[in-house]
């Protein structure tokens, strides 16, 4: 069933009775060519691209609950590719280019909104780092613009550029960055994968990964054993636990990142803005709510809830940057469990177990990577080898020292 404005009108005329389920709800088969563990954005995208790009359609996505309710359903919806290290920016640029055509590709409106992402800087050192990053992007064909203080003021008059504590020197802007409707990303990938034959199996928790002679043979689940020679992990937040089922310890800690949304108001903030001096970022959803967040709570947790110290800091930073938000009200607060890797960059690739692959270690930047992660993960699974775009995201880089520490924070996941 194809979605379109015309279909919407036709269905409206007959009382919206003709709509069909966006995806099937099949029982698990005994075996698949590929099992993807994790029905979030990354897992669903992996399945979709396995089917679309590699013709591998005998695929199951196993999800312990309903799809899209992990970090896909609880992030701050930002998409961008404004990274400094070439390994990162080429990968994220691939993701962004997939975002740009996603609605048409999936026939599902994920509301990808290229409204621009502005990173403010407040000191010479951070300005120089932003210039280095912006130039790295530009040389590799990715859009970036340097804004001075007055350009920042003109684009977003709410920003107190003469800030009492950390005056704004300027900003680095990626105009092609923006936001996307996060839930719709999971739903759109699910529907499109389903249409290509992928089985999306909800409420099917993996309880064990079967390994024989160093290679995977299948999984144990709450709905029985399922065979497969290739298994992809896409369970960010819980990668350590799933990898341990196959006997692997990964350089990842689970941490909580909080986010907030305000009551809806008429259009106020037209870009995604980050306040460099205060760990704060904000955008406005199409519904009118201001979506904002900051740093990690900073300790290991698997609970999807955070605590007041981060609330206090993030909300103060918000008013320090935009004093006029003071009389608005926060509506909801939530937390997501992040796979914090030890260098702040993701892991996509093979593992020491044959036939076991993973896309993991997304820190708090996984949403923007969703299509790129799925695309590269699918490529890696299909070819049993990493694509050039994710070659640097090897799991063994921590042993070899080929780290991708974009911010130079060191092997301290809670500080990444």
């Amino acid at each position: 069933m194809r979605y379109s404005g015309l279909r919407l009108f036709a269905e409206a005329l007959r009382g919206n009775t003709g709509w069909k389920p966006a995806w099937r709800d099949p029982p698990p088969k005994r075996s698949y060519d590929v099992i993807i563990i994790g029905g979030g954005g990354h897992g669903l995208a992996t399945a979709y691209y396995l089917a679309k790009e590699h013709g591998i359609t005998n695929v199951a996505v196993l999800e312990k609950g309903p799809i899209g309710l992990g970090n896909t359903g609880r992030n701050t919806t930002i998409v961008r590719s404004n990274y400094m290290l070439p390994q990162n920016h080429f990968f994220y640029e691939k993701a962004l280019s997939l975002w740009e055509g996603l609605e048409q590709d999936l026939n599902y409106n994920a509301m990808v909104s290229q409204r621009g992402v502005i990173n403010l800087f407040h000191a010479e050192g951070t300005r120089n780092a932003a210039v280095r990053r912006g130039n790295a992007m530009r040389l590799d064909g990715i859009d970036a613009d340097l804004l001075d203080k007055e350009q920042v003021r003109a684009l977003c008059p709410l920003i107190d550029v003469d800030n009492g504590r950390f005056p704004v020197l300027g900003g680095l802007m990626q105009r092609r960055g923006g936001t996307a409707r996060h839930d719709a990303v999971a739903w759109g990938f699910a529907r499109a994968a389903d249409q290509r034959g992928v089985d999306i199996i909800q409420h099917c928790e993996v309880t064990g990964i079967d390994v024989e002679g160093g290679r995977v043979t299948g999984v144990q689940t709450t709905r029985g054993p399922i065979k497969a020679n290739k298994i992809g992990l896409a369970v960010a937040g819980n990668t350590s636990r799933l990898a341990q089922m196959a006997g692997i310890d990964v350089p990842i800690e689970s941490h909580v990142l909080q986010a907030f949304v305000s009551e809806g108001v008429k259009p106020l903030v037209d870009q995604v803005i980050t306040f460099g001096a205060g760990h704060f970022y904000i955008s406005q959803s199409d519904k009118g709510g201001l979506v904002f967040g900051g740093g990690l709570d900073g300790w290991n947790t698997y609970a999807q809830r955070g605590n007041l110290p981060v609330v206090d800091h993030v909300w103060s930073a918000g008013i320090a940057m935009m004093p006029s938000l003071s009389r608005l009200r926060g509506l909801r607060q939530w937390g997501g469990v992040m796979d914090m890797s030890f260098d702040g960059s993701p892991i996509i690739g093979k593992t020491p177990i044959d036939g076991l692959y993973m896309t993991a270690g997304w820190c708090y930047g996984g949403f923007k990577a969703t299509p790129g992660s799925g695309w590269c993960h699918a490529w890696t699974i299909a070819n049993d080898a990493p694509h050039k775009l994710n070659e640097a995201y090897r799991l063994d880089r921590f042993r070899t020292g080929h780290l991708l520490d974009e911010r130079g924070n060191g092997p301290y996941p809670w500080m990444q």
């Binding site: 800690e253 300790w299 110290p309």
Partner: protein, 91 residues
């Protein structure tokens, strides 16, 4: 709000402390292998359950404390000095 019963200062809010990760890993001695140092720096059990971890009471007594905390409930079960090994509940 995590509250930690510092053996020196009494019960204090988490903001007075700085987290420093898994306290069960031990720095290898002189002459140890690259592998051993890799494990010390990068290999983590990252348990869903009880976790023994370092918290540095920077705003208080400036001591590194071993805290036994549950990573789902956030309950703090025990707090010990750096040189002690607190008891870790089975589940």
């Amino acid at each position: 709000m995590i509250r930690i019963d510092c053996p020196w200062c009494g019960v204090r809010d988490e903001v007075e402390f700085t987290y420093r990760g898994d306290a069960t890993v031990v720095r290898p001695g002189e002459g140890a292998s690259e592998e051993a140092f890799h494990d010390f720096v990068y290999k983590r059990a990252n348990p869903r359950g009880w976790h023994v971890e370092w918290w540095y009471h920077g705003a208080g007594c400036r001591q590194f404390l071993k805290v036994v905390r549950h990573t789902m409930t956030h309950e703090v079960r025990a707090v010990a000095r750096a040189t002690e090994m607190p008891e870790v509940p089975a589940e």
